[in-house]
């Protein structure tokens, strides 16, 4: 009986150890809540995102700066918008601060990121999309309507 217990303990140790060192599949418990928490999947499957997110970002940054492409899927601003955590008071916590989305992995893998010496680490400033301008007031009205409908749908799917 005693030996069996020791064997069981050993086997558990052996089984568990590799997971401690590998970074894959660990669910980080981040401080605060983010929009991404409620999503099933990021813009690509999670394994691809973990390994290749910087490839997408590099590609998108040149397309954005040089060619003016502003699609949301691989946009850096959109990453932050979705993954940034909010504390209890509803204030955004910088995404590169300790225990936050970017930092937890990058500390573990010892990869330094300097995105945030220039880019805002929380959504800040004016949003380009829902802006009233002198010319497209009509469009703004439609945008507002769309937002309302989307909110409704959001409520509905939340109840399921």
């Amino acid at each position: 009986m005693h030996q069996l217990a020791i064997r069981l303990l050993l086997s558990i140790l052996i089984l568990v150890t590799p997971n401690v060192f590998s970074h894959d599949g660990i669910n980080h418990s981040l401080i605060g809540k983010s929009k991404a928490d409620s999503q099933e999947q990021c813009v690509e499957p999670t394994e691809i995102m973990q390994k290749e997110h910087f490839v997408f970002l590099y590609h998108q940054r040149d397309k954005t700066v040089i060619k003016g492409v502003r699609t949301k899927n691989h946009s850096f601003a959109n990453c932050i918008d979705c993954h940034v955590s909010y504390d209890e008071k509803g204030k955004a916590i910088p995404i590169n601060s300790e225990g936050q989305f970017c930092q937890t992995c990058h500390v573990q893998t010892a990869v330094n990121i300097d995105c945030f010496s220039c880019h805002a680490s929380v959504p800040r400033g004016r949003k380009s999309v829902a802006k009233i301008t002198l010319e497209n007031e009509h469009n703004f009205h439609i945008t507002k309507l769309t937002n309302e409908i989307i909110n409704h749908v959001g409520d509905y799917s939340g109840e399921k």
């Binding site: 700066v65 492409v69 220039c118 959504p123 380009s128 439609i142 769309t146 749908v153 509905y156």
Partner: protein
């Protein structure tokens, strides 16, 4: 205890109708809500962004355009006027012949032959095909050749670590920066810059921005109304920002 139904029949019908209508109509509405350029489309040379500034309408003591630019791009400085970034600034000029004093908003002139791009060693200074001259801060090494080459002193260098950047205008220490005709707004289909909007709100209407290839654009009507000239036309830089009244 029996399970209570969580939604009433009426609720259910209303919500499913909303959902169905959303599925059917949202794609239509969204395409309408997005204006001229879809987000995924690359900029083309069919669009030619330009600005015309009527100096006679520009008011002394008014800094609406400068303030709007600061707010739009998060250009908050350190109270060091010598080195703080200015993408647009107001100059006071005096005519030697008749001693008349005028104020002129000065910003990147978005030349068609930009000297800043000629001297840039890394290609970070570049001219987008729609005519916007800007800095690719990912490749800028901060040598400041472009600042020396620019005849209009339109560019600024960030000397210090920044913390309060806005999402729409990433900027940081060690890079040169300048007016980019609010490229972020334009790419999202808003065809007015922050400075123009502010000037209109103030009621001065000194700044007119728009697309040169669009005959109905505000810049084209401003160009028709008054004779415009380029500053330092002897350099033949073919600036896209032109001035009338000086």
């Amino acid at each position: 205890m029996k399970n209570k139904p969580t939604t009433s029949r009426r609720d259910f019908i209303v919500k499913s109708l909303t959902a169905i209508s959303a599925v059917y109509f949202i794609p239509d509405i969204i395409t309408k809500a997005e204006s001229a350029k879809p987000l995924a489309q690359e900029v083309t040379s069919d669009t030619k962004w330009a600005m015309s500034i009527d100096v006679d309408k520009c008011a002394k003591g008014c800094t609406a355009c400068v303030d709007a630019c600061v707010e739009e791009n998060g250009l908050y400085g350190f109270d060091r006027p010598e080195t703080d970034s200015q993408w647009i600034r107001k100059l006071t000029i005096k005519n030697i012949k008749d001693d008349k004093i005028k104020v002129v908003p000065m910003l990147c002139q978005h030349c068609e032959n930009p000297p800043c791009c000629d001297v840039c060693p890394t290609g970070a200074s570049f001219r987008r095909v729609d005519g916007i001259v800007m800095v690719n801060q990912h490749t800028c090494i901060g040598c400041r050749y472009c600042m020396m080459a620019c005849p209009f002193k339109a560019r600024s260098f960030v000397h210090e670590n920044l913390t309060e950047q806005v999402t729409n205008a990433p900027r940081g220490k060690g890079c040169v920066e300048s007016c980019n005709f609010c490229a972020n707004r334009i790419d999202h289909g808003i065809s007015t810059t922050a400075c123009e909007e502010a000037c209109m709100k103030e009621g001065h209407n000194a700044i007119s921005f728009g697309d040169l290839s669009d005959t109905k654009s505000r810049v084209n009507s401003a160009l028709k109304k008054k004779d415009n000239r380029r500053l330092r036309s002897d350099l033949s830089l073919k600036q896209r920002v032109t001035y009338s009244g000086i």
